[in-house]
Assembly symmetry: C2
Homo-oligomer: 143 residues x 2
DNA sequence: TATTGTTATACTCTATAACTATA
DNA sequence: TATAGTTATAGAGTATAACAATA
């Protein structure tokens, strides 16, 4: 047999990411959201003040043009609104709507269930170790 | 400040996967390969015998139709060949060409460099722990 | 009738380049 | 001229559904 699954780190990440993406897609579809839209919504919600498009793009780790597509979708769904920044009319401020807040609260339950389902193979200690290693990686790769 | 980066496991995975995908794309582009094509090529190479399309799709964790697209690209590049399975003429056997073997050997150096670059923030022990946790997760989610 | 792969099509995510409005 | 965001376009990755050839 030469079918032993490859187990190097990048390959394992690709596999895990694929499972997570699928799980998220399935759970978010009933809410009318894609994973990228949900991610953007959470980032917008985490901020007390409206976010500029460029700031949102940076936090999503995508180029500004790609953020436009994501926000277009969220705006069409009525979950966020765009407003011209009065202090710099070139900038667009993205704000959460009431509907957006409702969507977010529905998402949080789905996210908890998804995390439980995806990481049930690990003990709480193991999950914390994993979280720590991934956070270290995340911080390291940005320097 | 309410800008502390979210650090739950799914979010950390999405971020890590994005970095890995980018790194792989950049390293594979000069070889004329996409990450998915490279992954397929490695799976085909790991087998001593030709792989059926359905078997390849299963190992890539994609539907058979999607495997067709990947193999089409590899065949156009001359890295793999298709042959009718004599024992079951409905099946297609995918085989590595000499050019495919050359491409694979070039890939392996690129993969080592990529892994070193991506995981340099972790010690060898930490990498092994991470590998173990991801492998556990991978095995668990398939049952 | 069931299986294997493919044709046809569509959607998500993201990118580069060129343009517009504003500064 | 520089900046912020967008219009236009493209490509990677993957999916569902319908169909052909074979079993």
């Amino acid at each position: 047999m030469d079918t032993a699954p490859e187990s190097d780190l990048p390959e394992l990440f690709v596999r895990a990411a694929k499972r997570i993406r699928r799980n998220q897609s399935a759970r978010l579809a009933p809410l009318g959201l894609t994973p990228a839209q949900a991610r953007a919504l959470r980032i917008i919600a985490r901020h007390s003040e409206p976010l500029r498009m460029a700031a949102l793009a940076e936090r999503l780790d995508i180029v500004p043009r790609s953020a436009t597509t994501v926000v277009d979708a969220l705006e069409s769904s009525g979950l966020v609104g765009r407003a011209v920044d009065p202090s710099n009319r070139r900038s667009t401020l993205v704000t959460l709507t009431d509907a957006g807040r409702v969507a977010l609260s529905r998402m949080s339950a789905a996210r908890r269930e998804a995390a439980e389902e995806l990481f049930s193979a690990l003990s709480p200690d193991e999950r914390e170790t994993l979280r720590h290693l991934l956070a270290t990686l995340d911080a390291g790769d940005r320097c």
